[in-house]
C-alpha cells in the first residue's frame, strides 16, 4: 500500500495535468529533481548509473577520480523516495534491505541525512566532495546541477 500510493498519486496527477494541459501551459512537474555538486567542483555531468553507484555505496569516487560523498534527504521525505525510485529502481523497503545488507556485512553505512533541499544545497556548496539531490526550485549559483533526474 505504502508503495503504491505515491505511484498511483503520480499517475493520477499526470492524468490530471494532461487533461489540464489542454487549457494551461505545461506546469512544472510535481517535483523536478536535480543532482548537484558544489560550484567549486570540477565535475560537470554524471550519468544515472554513476549517481546510483555513489548513493548505494558501490562507488566512492567521481568519474575523475576525486572522492565522492553522498548526502541524503531525511528518511520519509517524498523527494528522497522519488530520487531512489527513479535512479536506483528501489522502493523504500528495497533501499532499506540494500543498506541492511551493507551494514550487516560490514561494507558501509548509509549516507548522512540533512533536513531538506536548502540544507543539502548549503552543505554541498561548502564541500566539493559532496553530492546531493534537491528540488530544482532550490537551485542557485553556489551549486552545479550534474544530472536532471527524469
Amino acid at each position: 500500500m505504502g508503495q503504491l500510493t505515491p505511484l498511483r498519486r503520480r499517475a493520477t496527477l499526470t492524468l490530471v495535468m494532461l487533461l489540464a494541459g489542454l487549457a494551461a501551459p505545461a506546469p512544472a512537474a510535481a517535483s523536478e529533481l536535480v543532482v548537484i555538486v558544489s560550484a567549486r567542483s570540477p565535475v560537470t555531468a554524471l550519468r544515472p548509473d554513476q549517481v546510483a553507484a555513489i548513493f548505494l555505496g558501490q562507488s566512492v569516487r567521481f568519474p575523475d577520480g576525486a572522492e565522492a560523498i553522498p548526502l541524503d534527504q531525511r528518511l520519509g521525505a517524498p523527494l528522497r523516495d522519488e530520487f531512489y525510485l527513479r535512479v536506483t529502481s528501489k522502493t523504500p523497503p528495497l533501499l532499506k534491505a540494500w543498506w541492511s545488507k551493507m551494514v550487516f556485512t560490514g561494507r558501509g553505512q548509509p549516507p548522512a541525512e540533512v533536513a531538506d533541499s536548502a540544507a543539502v544545497r548549503r552543505r554541498v556548496a561548502d564541500n566539493p566532495g559532496l553530492v546531493g539531490y534537491i528540488d530544482r526550485s532550490a537551485l542557485d549559483a553556489s551549486v552545479r546541477p550534474v544530472l536532471v533526474v527524469q
Binding site: 508503495q3 548509473d49 545488507k101 551494514v103 550487516f104
Partner: protein, 418 residues
C-alpha cells in the same frame, strides 16, 4: 523446557537492551571523519509447522530441535535477534561488534559474538579487517541471519542449512574495482574457525582460506566463492575409537569417515537479477569434506514479483550426495556370534552417520509483505522430500520415521531491522 525458558528471557533482555540503546545512541557522521557510534540490529520472530511428526524440520544444522517431532509448531526454527555496534574512529579506522541470539545445539538462546573486528580503510577501495568476520561463501550467506534482506523466510535449506558456519577469526581484505561498467568487490580471508557444537564439543577448522568475488552490472549481480580449510570435530568419537580397536580395516574406516584433520571445501556460484519489480536468483554449490559429512552438490532457483508492498515468490531447491552415503562396514563373516553382534552394531552406527548426508528436493511458495520500511511479514509453504534413503535436512528422528516421505512445512515470520 527450563533451558528454553531461560533462553527466551535472555532474548527479551537483549531486545530491551537493543531497543533502549537504539533510541539514544544513533549518532550519524557526515563523512567528515569525526568519531561516531551507530547502533543497529535485526531480528526475526517466526513460527513453523511441520507435517512430519517423526523428525524435526530445522533451518540450520546448529539447532538442537525444530518443528515436527519436538513440537508441531516451533518458534525456534527462525527466531533470532541481532545487535550491531559500529564505531568509526576517523576516516580510516572503525570497529564492529555483532551479537546474535538464536536457538543453538544446547537448546539455549545464549548470545554469540558473530563478528568482532577492526577495520582499516587503506584507500577508499581497499579495506583490511582483523578479528572475527563473516566467512566468504555463497550468495546470501554473509547476511543469512538478517531475514529482512532476502525475500524468503530463510535461505534454501538444501544449500544453506547444512553449512551453518558463518564467521571465522582471522584477517580479510576487501577490494572494490571497476572493469568498464562492471563494479566488482573481491574478498580474501585467511584464519581459523571455531564452532561450539553440543557443549563441551567443538568443531575447529584450521588454515581456513576464503575467496569471493561479487560483480554488479546494472540489475545483475554475480557472486563466486571458494572456502577451504582443515576441519576437526569430535563427532561420534566413541564409534571411531571402537572401529580403531577392531583392527586395520576398522582403522581404515575411521580414516575415511572421522572428521579428523580433514580437508573440506565449499565452492559456489550464484546470480541475482533484480530490476526492482521482479527478481530471479539461482545458485549452484558443491561441498567436499572427505568425512562422514559427505560430498554434496546443491542448486536452487527462485523468482518473485513485486506488486507494491507484496512480493509473491517461488523457489525450487535440491541437494544430492556425490560421495558415499552408506558403507558395507566391517565384514561379519567368520566372527563368533557375540562379536558379530557388536560389529554389526558398529556398522549400523556408521551407516546412521552416513545417512545424515542430505539428499532432498523442495518446492516453496511464499509471500513477503512489507508492512513498513523496516518490517516485513512473510508466509511460506515448503514441500520437502528427502530422497535416496537420506533424511534430508531433518534431525531428531524418531523410530517411526520413513525416508522418502514428503513433508509439508508452513512458516510465518516477521523480519525487522532497526
Amino acid at each position: 523446557m527450563q533451558h528454553s525458558f531461560r533462553g527466551h528471557h535472555l532474548t527479551a533482555s537483549l531486545l530491551a537492551l537493543a531497543l533502549g540503546a537504539g533510541f539514544d545512541a544513533h549518532a550519524e557522521d557526515a563523512g567528515d571523519g569525526t568519531p561516531s557510534v551507530a547502533v543497529s540490529g535485526f531480528g526475526t520472530v517466526g513460527v513453523v509447522h511441520s507435517s512430519e511428526e517423526h523428525a524435526d524440520y530445522i533451518a540450520s544444522a546448529l539447532k538442537s530441535n525444530g518443528a515436527g517431532a519436538t513440537r508441531r509448531w516451533s518458534g525456534d526454527v527462525d527466531t533470532r535477534l541481532g545487535l550491531q555496534l559500529d564505531a568509526a574512529l576517523d576516516k580510516r579506522w572503525s570497529a564492529v561488534l555483532q551479537l546474535v541470539s538464536e536457538m543453538d545445539l544446547d537448546n539455549s538462546y545464549r548470545p554469540r559474538v558473530e563478528w568482532a573486528n577492526i577495520k582499516y580503510q587503506v584507500t577508499p577501495e581497499l579495506a583490511l579487517r582483523l578479528g572475527r568476520v563473516a566467512l566468504p561463501m555463497f550468495l546470501t550467506a554473509e547476511y543469512r541471519k538478517v531475514g529482512y534482506i532476502y525475500p524468503w523466510v530463510r535461505p534454501p535449506v538444501e544449500s544453506y542449512g547444512t553449512l551453518p558456519f558463518t564467521s571465522g577469526d582471522g584477517i580479510d581484505a576487501n577490494l572494490r574495482w571497476n572493469l568498464g561498467p562492471v563494479r566488482n568487490t573481491s574478498q580474501i580471508f585467511f584464519g581459523h574457525a571455531d564452532q561450539k557444537l553440543v557443549d563441551p564439543m567443538r568443531g575447529y577448522a584450521r588454515r581456513v582460506f576464503g575467496l569471493a568475488n561479487t560483480s554488479d552490472w546494472g540489475a545483475l549481480s554475480v557472486r563466486a566463492s571458494l572456502l577451504g580449510g582443515e576441519a576437526t570435530a569430535a563427532i561420534a568419537d566413541q564409534l571411531f575409537d571402537a572401529l580403531d580397536a577392531s583392527g586395520p580395516s576398522g582403522a581404515a574406516l575411521t580414516r575415511a569417515y572421522a572428521i579428523d584433520h580433514k580437508q573440506i571445501s565449499v565452492a559456489s556460484i550464484g546470480a541475482n537479477y533484480d530490476p526492482g519489480t521482479w527478481f530471479l536468483m539461482a545458485e549452484a554449490s558443491r561441498t567436499r569434506t572427505h568425512s562422514l559429512l559427505g560430498a554434496t552438490r546443491s542448486i536452487y532457483a527462485s523468482a518473485g514479483w513485486r506488486h507494491g508492498a507484496l512480493t509473491p515468490y517461488l523457489t525450487w531447491s535440491h541437494v544430492r550426495a556425490v560421495g558415499a552415503t552408506s558403507s558395507p562396514g566391517l565384514p561379519l563373516a567368520g566372527l563368533p556370534p557375540q562379536v558379530a553382534g557388536q560389529v554389526a552394531a558398529l556398522n549400523a552406527g556408521l551407516n546412521q552417520l552416513l545417512g545424515t548426508v542430505p539428499q532432498q528436493t523442495s518446492v516453496s511458495a511464499g509471500l513477503r509483505w512489507d508492512l513498513r520500511a523496516n518490517t516485513a511479514l512473510k508466509l511460506q509453504y515448503d514441500r520437502a522430500t528427502p530422497h535416496a534413503g537420506s533424511h534430508g535436512t531433518l534431525t531428531n528422528l524418531t523410530p517411526g520415521f520413513q525416508p522418502g516421505r514428503t513433508i509439508h512445512v508452513a512458516s510465518v515470520a516477521i523480519d525487522f531491522v532497526y
